[in-house]
């Protein structure tokens, strides 16, 4: 009940299983690092089609960049979490913790 009312506060782009998986996996990489499409597929355990769909939406939101390069004449797709994407993910997890925290903050104040 609480969840339903609070859900609109959660970033809708990230709050979906597939895209959340992708965002988490990318956030584990050090800032600025890129990962190839097949390795990312490996990290999240998704089909190529499924992953492409999620990546497109994350790219539209500006949370990731997708770039293509040629390695030994083979096109390679690289995915990078943007600064905006990393920030959005941090805010998303912060919002989750607020949602899951007990209603009254008495215990927090006692700690201080």
């Amino acid at each position: 009940m609480i969840g339903k009312r609070a859900l609109p506060d959660l970033d809708a782009v990230i709050h979906a299983q597939g895209r959340l998986r992708v965002t988490v996996a990318l956030s584990v990489l050090p800032p600025g690092d890129s990962v190839t499409f097949p390795r990312l597929q490996d990290l999240v355990g998704m089909t190529a089609g499924n992953l492409s769909t999620h990546l497109r939406k994350l790219e539209d939101a500006g949370y990731i960049t997708i770039s293509k390069a040629y390695r030994r004449r083979t096109p390679v797709t690289f995915v990078t979490l943007t600064g905006a994407g990393r920030l959005a993910f941090e805010e998303y997890t912060a919002a989750l913790r607020v949602l899951l925290a007990p209603r009254d903050h008495g215990s927090d104040q006692e700690d201080l």
Binding site: A16, L29, P30, P31, L43, V44, G45, D108
Partner: protein, 224 residues
């Protein structure tokens, strides 16, 4: 492209329908763990392999060099075992780095590549220096102290650098320990130096491996 909006909507319904905040948080933890396991080098494995190489390799050298025990082990066999153990440890370390970095590029991989080259270049420099000293007439007894002692100086410094590079305190302290072990081994003289390298050096790595393993197993503290 025309039906992208339609498919967007259907897939949104598909994967957003049953994701409560609790499930979301659980999914984040599980996915983070899975990705980290795949992307991060397992320090316990690498430290354990090096620990065994030092303990057994230098231990065997001690047994052959010791006057009282010298006859027990033939020197060519001991040297072969020693080189084999260190080659295996180097291959395992390098293999781990390559395997974890597969498909990843960017600043962290560039640092890792430069760090890898630092090992190679440092040892090329060390071998050149030690060989030059031997050519200049360094007595075998001192050469026996110089090779492992100077190697440990290089290894220790590179662990200090690795600790700085990855902000890894444990690696930094291991570097400090290796520097101390190296100096102590030279101070111990031949063949005591091999005992120091085997027990303090190998032991240090194995303790490091145990600490890393315990850290992995310890459940992550729940954040408020």
């Amino acid at each position: 492209m025309d039906d992208s909006q339609r498919s967007e909507r259907s897939s949104d319904l598909g994967d957003e329908s049953h994701l409560s905040p609790e499930e979301s948080l659980a999914l984040i933890e599980a996915q983070r763990e899975k990705a980290a396991r795949s992307l991060y080098v397992a320090p316990a494995l690498i430290l354990a392999v090096w620990g065994v190489a030092w303990l057994v390799g230098f231990g065997a050298l001690y047994l052959t060099s010791h006057r009282g025990l010298g006859g027990a082990l033939p020197a060519p066999l001991v040297t072969s075992v020693f080189l084999l153990l260190f080659a295996v440890a180097a291959v395992v370390s390098f293999g781990e780095q390559v395997r974890r970095g597969r498909g990843v590029s960017g600043p962290s991989r560039r640092s890792a590549a430069l760090y890898g080259w630092s090992w190679l270049l440092a040892f090329v420099g060390l071998i050149a220096l030690d060989l030059a000293l031997e050519n200049e007439g360094l007595p075998p007894r001192l050469a026996t102290l110089l090779w492992p002692g100077s190697s440990l100086l290089v290894v220790g410094l590179l662990y200090l650098a690795g600790g700085m590079l990855w902000e890894d305190r444990r690696q930094y302290w291991l570097g400090v320990w290796v520097l101390i072990t190296g100096a102590a081994s030279v101070a111990a003289g031949v063949p005591g130096n091999f005992a120091v390298l085997s027990l303090a050096g190998g032991g240090g790595f194995l303790i490091g491996a145990a600490v890393a393993l315990a850290g992995d197993r310890r459940p992550q503290p729940a954040r408020p």
